[in-house]
Point group: C2
């Protein structure tokens, strides 16, 4: 699982919760990539205390161009690509060619059944995601294990109208196309379609998960930023990491 | 653990995450009390799928008086009291007099070490809570296992300047005072002080946890309400529970 992360008030609690979710999943490697030019103490501490096999990387964003300035407004791209590079660089060391790669943000909510089901991914497996695309849920409509259409509001003409958290890719597909990364020059909302198209995946190859795409096992949510108006006048013990 | 809950967009994902956190804790009974006049389908489904021993109750709030109208503005009181009553009613059936009771809201974040440490509570154990009281953290300052003062901004004159998530009570203390419930008539911010005072706990009896109150193992946070402006015109499959 590739997880980009960035410094914010709730970064620690979000990472602690995600660590604990992944503790319930067997045989997972959690690749956490900080958007920073060095390793932070808080992420280091979380990963040191986390009973999940993890890889700690950092990669400072340099390509971000806001949508107002005509860019795609994508965040997390260079971090995810750093994670992909790590997997490709280190995969040859392993015995098995088996494996599945998933992009999972640190503030989303996950039902662990998602991880159990994505293990069995031949090419690309898919499922709906809660609270994404300004809808209650967005994602594939499925029938007998195959995708028949997509429920979305944003550009339904996309080849893969999917959120980054809505699919997992078999490792072999990624190893077969070692030059393919997530393209930050994609138009807004087109990252996923560009990536899967560059991998030469076909819509007919998508494998339905989560009870034929009828269950929600991942929610695209955010932890509210805490308000602390009294902190400046009454700061407490600065050595306590929150 | 007594958890009040109420209907909202993120109720399911918050409960799923908390269930999964508690799956990492041995020997816990999760008492979930809905603020509703009947059992809801969504909570029933979460608890049925949750691999934690749970008790499902409901208790509709009738006493809530907003602060503007001169009330304490407390929510969750009747649900927590319903949970307390269940524990007292059912405790006699068990073999052991051992046990610890904790009030844990469904949207907070928890480091599982909190639950490991609160097991050993003779009277009342305490620890700091992140993002509470409009501070980075609020709670006891401790030394050698005892509380020496409190870090708080709101009414530091309170006998127990503690958040509801900042303490756990030995079951015997609750059984010795069967008439004591959380008093919804307490002034704003005084629920905890009134409750512990009514239980005849003394500040000197508080037991420090979480590395002598230097680690944060619980964060008082909220999941942001999702925005779904396209939902009305494009509602998707209504049978999908999000």
């Amino acid at each position: 699982m590739i997880t980009p992360t960035y410094k914010r008030l709730t970064q620690k609690v979000d990472l602690v919760r995600l660590c604990q979710t992944l503790m319930l999943v067997s045989n997972v490697t959690w690749i956490v990539i900080e958007d920073a030019s060095t390793y932070s103490k808080v992420v280091t501490n979380v990963l040191n205390n986390c009973k999940v096999k993890s890889v700690h990387l950092h990669e400072k964003t340099t390509t971000f161009v806001s949508r107002r300035k005509g860019g795609g407004g994508h965040r997390g791209v260079e971090q995810r690509n750093r994670g992909l590079k790590w997997i490709r660089d280190n995969h040859g060391l392993k015995d098995s060619k088996m494996g599945v790669v998933y992009f999972g943000d640190d503030d989303n909510g996950y039902d662990i059944r998602l991880f159990h089901e994505m293990r069995f991914t031949s090419i690309v497996s898919v499922w709906p995601v809660g609270f994404v695309g300004m809808l209650r849920y967005e994602g594939p409509n499925c029938q007998d294990g195959r995708v028949v259409s997509f429920h979305t509001s944003f550009r339904p003409d996309r080849t893969f109208p999917l959120d980054m958290g809505a699919f997992a890719v078999n490792l072999q597909i990624l190893m077969n196309k070692p030059e393919v990364y997530i393209n930050h020059k994609s138009a807004a909302g087109m990252l996923e379609t560009t990536f899967l198209s560059d991998l030469e995946v076909k819509p007919s190859q998508l494998e339905a998960r989560a009870n034929d795409c009828k269950n929600i096992y991942v929610w695209h949510i955010k932890t509210e930023k805490p308000k602390m108006p009294y902190e400046r006048q009454n700061p407490g013990d600065k050595t306590i990491e929150v």
